[in-house]
Every structure is written in structure tokens, then in C-alpha cells.
């Protein structure tokens, strides 16, 4: 984490390449949790909005908002009853849905792949504030009689995260991006939960809307 922060700061200070246009980028795709969650495999549909508000060539700063909509994360747990007329235990489906919202500020470095076709790769380094809200539901058919052992509960926390992105811009405005984000450095409270904070790895496809283009210049210089 500290290393990532240091590297990120160095990039902000010493960025050597830049795009000369402002743009708003919108992308979506699929996200997988790469933290060490063993009980559930969390998958999300990420929606990413990027905004590069400046035409500066040096120390390019941009903002990114990232919302991850959960699509999977079920596991089976046991519920027990002391009622002698019922089976001792049943399987109950536990649905954990982590909703993740992150606001990033970062810097970007561009590498030209094909100047004529205006294709290029850019590497983004980001620091942000991430909120993760876990909603837990049990599909318990008989709550009055059956009790789940060590149940998970809803949880919400906010912390600083870092992220690394590699994007490929092609066909003028299309963009494919790989986004890897650190887990959250935050406490999960005094009660042990079976899930951990999510560290999403996203693969997204998007479109960049360029605006405020400089006159007599190409889109990328």
C-alpha cells in the first residue's frame, strides 16, 4: 500500500507525457474480487466515469468515479433448531452483496501505438476514497425455528484505496481498460465476518467523448 502511494505520488510529480485534449469517458464490463475472500466469489458490473478536465501536457490530472454493482456472491450456511420435531439443521443460502463506490484522483501516462490511427495505450495511477456497503440476506425458510450460526451482518465502511489501470484507446474513441484496485485498509468492527473488503479487478470497454479540442492540432500529439 505504502509503495503504491509512493509510486503514485512520483507519477503525479514526474509525468512525462500527456494528452492535449479534455475528455469524458464512460465504460462498463465485468469485475472480479481478487482479495482473499474464500467463502464467496464476488463479481460486479462496474460503471466507470472518467473526466480529464485539463488540456495540459504535463502532470495530467484526471478524476474517476467508479460504481460496482454486485451480481453474484452466494454461499450455503447451516441453520439449527432445538425443536425436536424438526430436522436438526438445514442449509440456508447466504447472499452477500457488496456495493462499491470509489472516487479517484489520478495521473496518466500515454504511449503511442499508432499515431496515424490515433491508437495509444495509457497507464493510470489513482488514489481514492472507497465506500463499500455489504448487504447480507439469508434465504431462511423458517426464521422462527432455525437460527444461523455465526451469521454475517450488513457492514459499511470507507477508506483510502489505490488503483492501477492500463487502457487501450482504439478506433478513435473506443477504449478497453484493465483496472486493479487494492483492498481497503479499514476495520471490520469487533465481530468476525466471513467476508472481507473487496479488491476489484475490472475489465471494461468504453467510449471517450472528447471536447474542447485545440484548433489546428490532431487529437493526440
Amino acid at each position: 500500500m505504502i509503495k503504491l502511494l509512493t509510486v503514485s505520488t512520483c507519477f503525479v510529480l514526474f509525468s512525462l507525457s500527456a494528452s492535449a485534449q479534455c475528455f469524458v469517458g464512460l465504460s462498463t464490463g465485468i469485475s472480479k474480487d481478487i482479495s482473499d475472500n474464500v467463502n464467496q466469489a464476488f463479481y460486479h458490473i462496474p460503471v466507470t466515469l472518467q473526466w480529464k478536465p485539463t488540456r495540459k501536457r504535463w502532470n495530467v490530472f484526471f478524476l474517476e468515479a467508479n460504481y460496482d454493482i454486485p451480481i453474484a456472491g452466494n454461499s450455503n450456511v447451516k441453520a439449527y433448531t432445538v425443536n425436536p420435531s424438526l430436522p436438526q439443521s438445514i442449509n440456508v443460502t447466504e447472499k452477500v452483496r457488496p456495493y462499491i463506490f470509489t472516487l479517484f484522483g489520478g495521473t496518466t501516462v500515454h504511449f503511442i501505438v499508432d499515431k496515424e490511427r490515433q491508437d495509444f495505450i495509457y497507464v493510470n495511477l489513482l488514489l481514492g476514497i472507497c465506500n463499500q456497503t455489504f448487504i447480507v440476506k439469508y434465504a431462511n425458510p423458517d426464521k422462527n425455528n432455525y437460527t444461523v450460526l455465526n451469521p454475517d451482518v450488513n457492514f459499511d465502511n470507507t477508506s483510502i484505496v489505490a488503483a492501477f489501470e492500463v487502457a487501450y484507446k482504439f478506433h478513435n474513441n473506443l477504449m478497453a481498460m484493465l483496472h486493479i484496485q487494492t483492498g481497503m485498509d479499514a476495520s471490520e468492527g469487533g465481530y468476525p465476518l466471513s467476508y472481507k473488503f473487496v479488491a476489484p479487478m475490472q475489465l471494461t470497454l468504453g467510449y471517450n467523448f472528447y471536447y474542447n479540442k485545440p484548433k489546428n492540432t490532431r487529437r493526440y500529439q
Binding site: Y80, T81, V82, K143, T147, N150, P151
Partner: protein
């Protein structure tokens, strides 16, 4: 002279501060489905809670933490001995303490063989015992200086029994589960759950 006293006082302060153990946490994590009861856990939290005639009760939190249960085997003259799990209870803190009658101790008694051992207790993990086997004892406080022992029937389910492995539970026996019971038709103990840890050397079998 004054400086010497200051030094001695300072040294004593640090010695006492070093000897004082921090109070263990309450570890009462409320169950979303059963208001004012703790969750069913198996972490050795020494927490137990239940309703008695719809009033939530749990084991009290005193100066040294949660009150711990006693697990004892009593030798009887019958073909079986008695295994008793007992713990103090108190009404939920949100309810006034000065109502009567209220209940101050709960015990669940099981008949066990004469040679019942610690390994036999471990083997109870995952076993459920019905009211035709178990006895419920409730100590009812009728006034500030009058108690009555009430006897009824109980169900108990030892969901997990094992040895502690964490720093706080090492050398302890952990047992957690569910219980309910009743004393005739007038008193119902419902939705009981326990998560206990006791030192292994405190067991008399």
C-alpha cells in the same frame, strides 16, 4: 524526602497499571431476527441470552467481564449421574431491574453415565437432547431477599463443542448451541442461545 515519595508513588502507579488487566469486551452482538438477544456464535464469547415469558435475559456483564457458566458432573445414587450447565442471568439492561418475579440463574441438567468423561462431553457436539431427557432449573427471585428454585423441562442442542485455538480461548473448552424450555404452563424459556468458553481445568470430570 518529597522527591523520594514522588518516585515511589510513580513506580507504584506504573506497577499497578501494569498489573491491571483490561476488562474483556461484552461481545453482545444483537441478533437481527430476535430483538435484544445475542447472535448464535461459536467464538467462545461467554454470552448467552433467551426470552423468559418474552422478556429478554442474558448473562450479566460484571467488573471482570461476562459471567461464566459452570459445567459440573454431580454423582447421584441413581444409575446415572447428572451433568449440569448453569449460568447467571439478568433481564435486559433496558428493562427496569426492580420488578418481581425475575430470574437470576438458569441450569440445564442432563443424565450421563457414571464414567462420563471430558471426551464424552466433546462427543456431544452436534447432538440434540429433548425435553424428555433434560431438566430445566430456574432460580426465581420473588423479592430482594427471597428466591425459589423452579423445575421444568428443557431442550438443548450442542451445535459445536471443541477446544479454543485463538489467543483469548487457548486452554479453554468452547461450547455453543441452542436451548429452550418451560416450567409448567406459566413460564416459557424461548430462543435461547449460548456461546461459552471455560478453562479446561475448571471441569470436574
Amino acid at each position: 524526602m518529597r522527591h523520594t515519595l514522588y518516585i515511589i508513588g510513580g513506580v507504584m502507579f506504573f506497577l499497578i497499571a501494569g498489573c491491571v488487566k483490561p476488562k474483556p469486551p461484552r461481545n453482545f452482538f444483537p441478533d437481527q431476527n430476535d430483538p435484544n438477544l445475542s447472535r448464535l456464535t461459536s467464538y467462545g464469547y461467554n454470552i448467552a441470552s433467551n426470552y423468559i415469558n418474552n422478556v429478554p435475559y442474558s448473562n450479566p456483564y460484571l467488573y471482570n467481564g461476562n459471567t461464566v457458566p459452570t459445567l459440573t458432573k454431580t454423582v447421584t445414587s441413581s444409575p446415572f449421574d447428572t451433568l449440569a450447565i448453569s449460568w447467571q442471568i439478568a433481564p435486559d439492561a433496558a428493562i427496569a431491574y426492580d420488578f418481581f418475579p425475575q430470574y437470576t440463574e438458569i441450569s440445564i441438567l442432563l443424565p450421563v453415565s457414571k464414567n462420563f468423561s471430558g471426551n464424552d462431553f466433546l462427543a456431544l457436539s452436534g447432538q440434540r437432547f429433548a425435553s424428555n431427557t433434560c431438566t430445566l432449573h430456574l432460580l426465581q427471585q420473588n423479592s430482594f431477599n427471597s428466591d425459589t428454585l423452579l423445575t421444568g423441562t428443557a431442550n438443548i442442542y450442542f451445535v459445536e463443542i471443541g477446544f479454543g485455538s485463538s489467543e483469548s480461548t487457548e486452554g479453554k473448552l468452547l461450547f455453543s448451541g441452542l436451548y429452550n424450555g418451560n416450567i409448567g404452563d406459566s413460564i416459557t424459556v424461548a430462543n435461547g442461545r449460548f456461546d461459552f468458553s471455560i478453562p479446561i481445568n475448571s471441569i470436574n470430570f
